[in-house]
Structure formats: structure tokens, C-alpha cells
Amino acid sequence: MFSLAFMQNAYLAGTFIAIICGTIGVFVIARNLSFLTHTLSEIGFAGAAFGIFMGWTALTGMLIFTVVSSVIVGQMSVKQSRREASISAISALFIGLGILFLSLSNQTSSYATSILFGSVIGIAHADVIRVAVLSGIVILVMLGLYRPLKFDSFDAIGARVSGLWTTGISVIFLVLVAMSVSVAAQIVGSLLIFILLTLPAAAARYFVHTVSKMIGLSIGFALIGVWLGLYLSYVTNLPVSFFIASIECLFYLAALGFQRLRVGS
């Protein structure tokens, strides 16, 4: 399997993706932003379609769309009550735009499915480099911001009253989420992106109780899902996102079961 160049690329890119999604996910869950990862995947789909329509790469289009909109959504989401409805409206608009750009760009429908559902075969060496560079940037920013981000994510009230620059942290974090969405879409596809960004982290918090351990375990769950998913997809010739989604769901259900046992006993 590893003698095939595209499988090597897929494993390399998948490893980077699992690491950043596992890490970012811990903060996504802590900040209650799961809904945002859904919206960003839809926006990412439109961005990818736009990128292709313009003759750029799908990744470039995704990055532009998700980063810009995450900042806008971040400004809006201050008013919790208004958030839900406006998010739905934005999702609808962007899915529509994605479909429009795709049809305008004369791409075959297989291209659409690969954006939406991900694809292993499509990953070239240059893609791996792009994924690696973007992941590196995300990780570096995370490391530099680690303590304030941790404080703001796990104790927003405490962080705000202690004079932390919480608005700045929120905006930077949303940009990091947008970058992770764009990067992860390369393999799992934009429709299922929220799986890697939410489920491993949501499962991890039931097993361990410090931020660093949660990040470690969440990365572990994401890595197992991606590695095993790629392998099973290779063997069975079924879509990789199906396997990743199923594996991560299993982890999450196991976590809920574990929590039940512990609280019940």
C-alpha cells in the first residue's frame, strides 16, 4: 500500500490534518463552537467551488472564504440570540453559491463529489506540502497563544475579568479554525469536516481532565480514525470519509458509555 505515491501522500497529509484538528477541536468544544464548524464547511465548499471557477486551487478559494467569513461570523455571534438564525441564513447562501460556481466552472460532477466528500486519490505531493505548511502555521500560533487561549476557552468569564484581550483571542482562534477547515477538507471533504474538528475532542473530555491530556487523546482519536480510515478505504475501495466518520462516532459513543458507567456507579 505504501509503495503507491498517492497513498504516501494521503497518509502524510492525513497525519497533519489529524494533529491540527485534534488540537483545535479541544478548543472548539470548550468554546461551544461546533455549530460554526458546520457553517464553515459549507462556506468552504462555496470557496472551493469559487477557487476552481477562478482557476485557482480549491484550497485557495476555501481559505479566502472561510477566513473572511469566520471573522464576520465572530463579530456577529456576540449576540447569542441572533446567532442561530443568521448562521442558517449564511449556510443556505453559501451552499447556493457553491452550487452556482461549480456549474459555472463547467466541472464534472465528480469534481463536486470530491470537494464535498473528500478524496484520497486526488492528493498530490504539492498538496501535502501546502497542508504541511498551513498545519505548521496553525500549530505555531497555537503554541504562542496557548495560555491565553486556554484561559479564555475554559473560563471565559474569569479570562475577561482578569483583563485578557479576549476579543483578539477570539478572532485569531476563528481564523485558525477556518484554516483547519480548509486544510482538513482536502481529505475528508467539506461536508464531513466537522467530524474531525468535533468528535475526537468531544470524546476525549470524558476520559481525561486536563487540557494537555485532552489534546493528546483527541489527536490520538483523530489519528486512529484517519489512518485506519485510509487503510480500510484502500482495502475495500469505499470512501474514506465513511470510515473516518464511523470510527470517530464509535469513539464518541464509547466515551458517552464510559461516562454513564462512571457517573452511574
Partner: protein, 230 residues
Amino acid sequence: MTEPLLAVQHLGIAFPNNQVFKDLNFKIEQGDFLTVIGENGVGKTTLIRALLGLVKPSTGQIKYYPNRKAIKIGYVPQFRNLDQEYPLTVEDFVGLNIRGWLPWLTKAEHRQVQTAMAVTNVKKIKQRPLGMASGGEKQRAYLAQAIVQEPQLLILDESTASLDNEMKYELLDLVQNLNQTSNITVFFVTHDLPLAKKYATHYLALRPGQQQFGNMADMSVEQLKEATNV
């Protein structure tokens, strides 16, 4: 000899169509245990936010000695609902308030966390997820987080409101101990007048448009009640 810590002079705070304070005056000296009492909505939390610099005074000023930068403030806010599934251990929660840029805690910072947990009596439960802790344990963990940076001024906003009688006194014993042994100045907001009388050295009684400030020794619980009645 006592040294001044802060002075509030002719402070006025106004929200759009709501004047909360007009000409508020009092001062706090190092080592004081000040209790702030008054009805709901009189402006106690707003006063704290002004002390922290989160609300701009519309008139007057708040002076810190020697200056605001030199005074570290620990603050336990009034509302902070962490639900049952809140995942972090008490120890990790306390460590959140350690500032700096390193992703991990240094040895000295780790010791600071241990000390804060020891003096607030949460060391025994430091591995427990905070969501699973009792109301009293949660308040002690908040207190530990507030003092982990070794502040000169500790502000507690109705920290005892949700606690039963026994836990109230337990918490305030810890605060008094910090006040007396570490010389941390305390600013304690409460509705509980007997509690205020027992622990505080000074009082600030707020009423709409009025204030009364002085030594606790001069006041009985009845007089305190009188001073806050609208």
C-alpha cells in the same frame, strides 16, 4: 503603620439613562478587610468593574498607590456557571490564571499553583473535575484561581451567596487567613450582614444616591441593616 492601597474620589458612573453612582468616596488601606453591602441593583458589581478598569467613571477618579500597574488584583466574579460536565480538574482550572507565553508551566509556576490550592484547602480534590465538585469546593477553587498570581487585592463578589451556613464560614475563614497572614487586602461584596460583621474591618454601605463608610467596630448588625435599607 498602614499604607493606602486605593482611594475612590467623587466617583460617578452613569449608564445610558441610569446614574449608578454620584460622588462616591472611600479609601482602602493595605490589609483592610472591606465589606460592601447594599440592595440588589445598587451598583456593587459595577463598582468592582470600575475598580478593575472595565467601566469608565463618568466623573471623579479611582487612585491606586503607587499606581494601578503595581497592584495585582485577584477577582472571584459573581456569576460563573460551570455545568456538571465541566471537564477540567481543579488543579488545571487554578493554573489557567498563570500568565505567560510558555505552553507549559515552569517549576516555579507549578509551585504557585500548589500553594494556592494548599491555602484554599482544595489540594485533596485537585484531580477531581471541577464540574463534579460541590458548591463550596467550587468557590474555594475559584478563590484559589484568583490568588494564584499572589495579588495584593482580592475582590469577592457575593461568593457566599450560594453556600449554606457552614460552608460560608469555612470560606470566609480561609479569606480571613489570607488577609491576616499574607496581608492580602480584601474587598468582599455580600448581603449577609452577620457574616460581614464577623469578618470585616471596614464597611461600605450603599443606597441609591447615598453611601456610608467606616470602621466595622463602630457598627452593630442592626445599624448595618439600617444603613442599607432603602
